[in-house]
Amino acid sequence: MARSSQIVPASRVPRPKISPRPPGSSWRIAAWLLGAAMAPGCGGCSRGAHPDDGKIHVVYWEKWSGPEARSLRMVVDAFNRSQNRIVVDCLTVSPIDRKTLVSTAGGDPPDIAGLWAYNIASFADADALTPLDGFMREDGTTPEEWQSRYYPVYRRMMRHAGHVYAAVSTPAMITLHWNKTLFREAGLDPDRPPRTVQELDEYARKLTKRDPKTGDIVQMGFLPQEPGWWPWVFCRWFGGQLFDGKHITLATDPRNIAAMKWVASYTKEYGRDAVTKFASGFAGQFASPQAGFFTGKVAMVFQGVWYNAYIREYKPGLDYGVAPAWPSAVPGIDDFAMAEADVLVIPRGAKHARAAWEFINYISSSNPKAQTREELRGMEVLCYLQEKNSPLQVWSPFFANHHPHPHIDVFRRLSASPHAVYAPDIGIWTEYQRETLAAFAQVRLLLATPEQALGEAQRRLEESWERHRRSLERHGQIAPDESAAPAS
């Protein structure tokens, strides 16, 4: 029980002595708080604060970290040393596509952004990119002339709706890689990759092993879902089209259905549960020593020019080969390949667009006479350091003869192939890609027939494409009957 003497009325509690504040001080504190609250709104004002060196500072956002970023930074440094007007400040940003988009919408984009090639169409349709054609004309050349230095597949990749929007920064070609040791163990010629789809299936059969006790699969010759990044390319490989320039043709082209039937044939032959269980051990482990190809669980895989660096990192000494092209799936086409690239773009509203273009022009150049490492320039420095193929048609003697990738000749030949394909030039590609991924999974897991899975995807994509066109018309970007893109 509290004693009454402890209870003191609040009015009689002695207050601590506070020194009187000067009149108006609380008002000043309040005003300061108000100012502090307003300050974040001016965050962007300080962005241009660079050392007053009289040079133009170009802000370059790049997605890469690791070896690719180091290569890019070396090229940036070389550009900064090559002249004294412009300084490119390179910053690694992730996720690059969304941040570029939001900063462009906010009116404070970087001067250069390193996107993926498949972003070009949707970003251009969203009015997020600056066409590069004008800069080319200012330099006294036409877009066609400027682009003529590239292999045709990369040339097409940089264009959308009649404009050049991007320049390739990190090119890649993708083809079949095979494990020679597993070929030898299966009694196959280790130096002869499959040349047709039928041979691929036959080799896969010979290379597949099961545990004699449990019947579980312990090794597979080939798995369509490994790595599973580009299921749409199977359709192109079988000769199909995804988009004819006006219409979605995913389910209407019978060759696409044939490709998905081929995908399903693997699950049917080896068993859905057995394949799923087998693949679950290394699903998603492509960049680790546990990847199916590195552990010897999968003998053949479609991978890109980057794979040599991965092998050196995660399975040094692996005896592997790179097929000169994808196994032939269509009579008469024996040089099919897939191209991919990262690209440099100038977002709309970039503050130093002209200076950004000068850097892009520099990185797109080369010294075709280079005889030494020191004489390499622009694109060839980048591709040499990244161990990738150059997208430019002319390779310098040093680049061609001293390239660090032991199979670079294969990728060079594939770059020149008239049957090299890339992601369709369509403004709804992200949606298209998700639809093909879902349809591929349904077909592979035998949850739907190829006709059902592709038919469902086609229906949704037709609606999306129609809606996308309506939106472009609504914003005055295309005339109602205007064709959007070449067939792909």
Binding site: A126, D127, T276, L437, S464, R474
Partner: protein, 307 residues
Amino acid sequence: MTKRERRRLFTGLGFVSPWIIGLTLFTAYPVLASLYYSFCDYSILKTPVWCGLANYRELAGDGLFWLSLRNTLFYAGLSVPLGAVVALSLALLLNADVRGKPFFRVVFYLPSIVPVVAASMLWIWIFNGQVGLLNWLLAPLLAPFGLSPPSWLVDPTWAKPALILMSLWGTGNAMVIYLAGLQNVPKELYEAAEIDGASGWRRFWHVTLPQLAPVIYFNVVMSLISALQIFTQAIVMSAAASGGTGTETDGFPARSTLFYTMHLFATAFYDLRMGYASAMAYVLFLIIAGLTWFATRLSRDRMRNVQ
């Protein structure tokens, strides 16, 4: 209002101005703007064009909208009650008079402070179909029945249950709140029940549970709101299991983990359809508000009798 009063008013407003401005600029404005955009064809960079109810009409016929909603309700419908039962059970165990109680409380709470992405990476390995810890434990248990454990994240039948199982990992927060609630139950109620001859189960059913009703209500509503917005762990795990396809939001495998917020995110930031995504966000808001209202109605009578 005198001059002095007006001065005091402005001084007060000045002091709270950071919060007023913050709320107006960063909460109220975006909320209202997205309501407007939900009636527009809007892709961030272009001027919004008013399209009336077109986005909402399209939602009604969008198969992926319904699929993602079904997936989300399935996840919430199982993870919320399961989470509540596990959290309450742990709280009851940790409320018992046992040795090393503080140690066990820390151990069970610890997972909930692990960042979601780190926890997801850990669970990807636990769910690995061949070398995963979970299947290593399950295989010998299922073998006598001629069964083998599932492939979890790469099997469309088991990918959602895997995420539900993983959600139990973060029940530490709810457990602590239940524990606090248990310690607030008046001892005299237990004494009275014991004198009346109530068994342990009856004491729990007739004393503990009714007394915990407000705490249960709070935890269930909070976990329901959180479950309906499941995003990070789903996107990390489905992207990792699919091998990183670049879109991360296809709900691998075969859209079995395509949750509402993933579909919304893909629509907004990959397809750049901000107007449609805003409409989706408002529908989710209405669903959450409706379910919260329903939960409040259900629990109102029970809570009225709690001391």
